[in-house]
């Protein structure tokens, strides 16, 4: 045994994505449970925000994890993280569910608006319709769905932050308040506001960077292909 592997054997929860996927591919149900516990929260939050329906989101997440179980050997860690892979599967499934339910974002802005403005289910945060999505709905429903997906993922990333860091991000990026204004509103020292904002942004960059590809131009990041094979189809 490679000495490097010993800690992983002793504590499977420390396995990196590649080793975890390799174990899952070999039929290790324990490794699968670790992957579920590691990624299901982010996946469920993102899909629920995208679909606006917890039960439908649960089915999509279940589909994504069953696909992981069946196809783990196709995972290539060099091309992205396991979470990114699961999110790509879930995104595809979620859009399929919208189509199947006849609630797909379409070229018709009114229909998109109707979809996003529907009453949320109990316990689900209300999903608003950002103006830029309605404006874009007249052009490309795939693009609209892509942007909405990124929006859902980003919101989930923010939701993972500690509450006091979420607060400064919301006030700074939703209301465009200055750090001094945030400090005044929350009655926190200015230095505390600054340090929490820095921590929050660093955490978001670390968490979201591999998922939404911050190195891509923004218009591409909104519907980032999962891998080069898809990108090649664009050429």
């Amino acid at each position: 045994m490679n000495p490097d592997d010993r800690s992983s054997v002793d504590d499977p929860s420390t396995l990196d994505d590649a080793r975890l996927a390799a174990r899952i591919a070999a039929g290790d149900e324990g490794a699968f449970v670790i992957a579920y516990d590691r990624h299901s929260g982010f996946l469920f939050g993102s899909v629920t925000r995208f679909l606006g329906d917890r039960e439908m989101a649960a089915e999509v997440v279940q589909d994504a994890f069953v696909t992981l179980w069946r196809r783990a050997r196709l995972f290539d860690a060099r091309s992205g993280s396991l979470l990114t892979w699961l999110l790509a599967i879930a995104r595809h499934r979620a859009i399929d569910r919208l189509r199947a339910e006849g609630r797909r974002p379409t070229r018709d802005a009114v229909r998109l608006d109707a979809f996003t403005a529907e009453a949320p289910t109990a316990g689900t945060p209300r999903l608003d319709t950002p103006p830029e999505l309605v404006a874009d709905a007249a052009t490309d429903p795939g693009e609209v769905a892509g942007r909405r997906w990124v929006q859902s993922v980003v919101r989930t990333g923010i939701a993972e932050l500690p509450e006091n860091e979420r607060q400064v991000i919301v006030l700074g990026y939703s209301m465009d308040l200055s750090q001094a204004q945030i400090a005044e509103r929350l009655e926190w020292p200015l230095g505390t506001v600054k340090s929490r904002t820095r921590r929050a942004m660093a955490q978001l960059r670390q968490r979201l960077g591999p998922i939404v590809d911050l190195d891509q131009p923004l218009d591409r990041a909104a519907d980032r292909p999962a891998a080069g094979s898809a990108a090649q189809a664009d050429r």
Binding site: R54, L74, R155, I169
Partner: protein, 286 residues
């Protein structure tokens, strides 16, 4: 204007990051420190890339949040997965493992999802109506048999095939509606046998060159390069059409290059490795 070094540039970027408006307005700011940062950026690709990355993150965060603070707060409230989902998912996988359905590399239906899929067949049949025109040339194969043979016993088969055809048509529609690529599927002698088309997320293989294999065999689909071969699915049949409709997202970590081949072989139903010779193939990089 003073010269700014890396450390000072990063410190300035970190300061700008605190306030999205200042970060967005960097290019036009009259502040001497912003001007010094701009000067540094013109000669430092690393800092420039770093700044752009932060800017993109800032824009994504800004775009993700409603402008109303209460709505924004609601939008980022944590959403926890229901505890019952964990048991459901693990149970589904355990069932699949016990049933020997794991790691088949194909598009077989997860065991625990059978009941839901049965419901989707009913919904699929209802959804067929708007696509009748598009599917007519294929459905006629189903219809001709249906009229002349035992209607009761063939009805379910016809319905299943119609559902499959609906799925094909829907996938083709999705592919053609997006930026896509189409390559020809060929026999070993080079004669045309069908087509493969794919877009950012969908993948469709269609051929009438195959007949249904014996019950213990399957036509399996592989992606291959010089040192690598991965099974990505298997051909299904609807009438006289053999097809595979898949999602790129499921195996999209494969990088399609100029040498990538798509290959169809006839294998034992439970085969995980390729032993058969290519029956059909396509150059995906062509």
């Amino acid at each position: 204007m003073s010269q700014m070094d890396h450390a000072a540039a990063h410190e300035r970027i970190a300061d700008l990051l605190l306030e999205p408006v200042r970060l967005a307005g960097l290019d036009h700011s009259a502040d001497p420190e912003d001007a010094a940062l701009r000067e540094h950026l013109t000669t430092c690709p690393g800092c420039r890339a770093d700044l752009e990355s932060w800017r993109r993150l800032g824009r994504l965060v800004g775009q993700a949040l409603p402008s109303d603070a209460a709505a924004a707060t609601d939008a980022v409230e944590p959403i926890d997965a229901p505890p019952s989902l964990r048991a459901r998912v693990i149970g589904a996988v355990h069932d699949a493992a016990q049933g020997g359905a794991a790691h088949d590399g194909g598009l077989g239906t997860p065991v625990s999802l059978q009941a839901r899929r049965a419901g989707s067949i009913e919904r699929g049949a209802r959804r067929l109506a708007p696509w009748l025109g598009l599917a007519a040339s294929l459905i006629v194969i189903v219809g001709a048999s249906w009229i002349t043979l035992d209607q009761a016993s063939l009805r379910e088969t016809a319905k299943a095939e119609a559902t499959a055809l609906t799925r094909i048509v829907a996938a083709v529609d999705r592919v053609l509606a997006a930026p896509h690529k189409i390559v020809e599927l060929r026999h070993p002698d080079g004669a045309g046998a069908g087509s493969i088309s794919w877009s950012r997320h969908d993948w469709v293989v269609l051929t009438t060159a195959l007949t249904e294999p014996p019950a213990d065999q399957r036509y399996k689909c592989w992606l291959e390069e010089a040192d690598r071969s991965v099974m990505v699915g298997q051909m299904d049949f609807a009438g006289g059409t053999a097809y595979w409709v898949g999602s790129l997202d499921e195996w999209a970590t494969w990088e399609i290059g100029p040498e990538t081949q798509f290959v169809v072989t006839l294998e034992a139903a439970d085969a995980q490795d390729r032993t058969g010779t290519p029956i059909l193939s396509a150059d995906l990089g062509s």
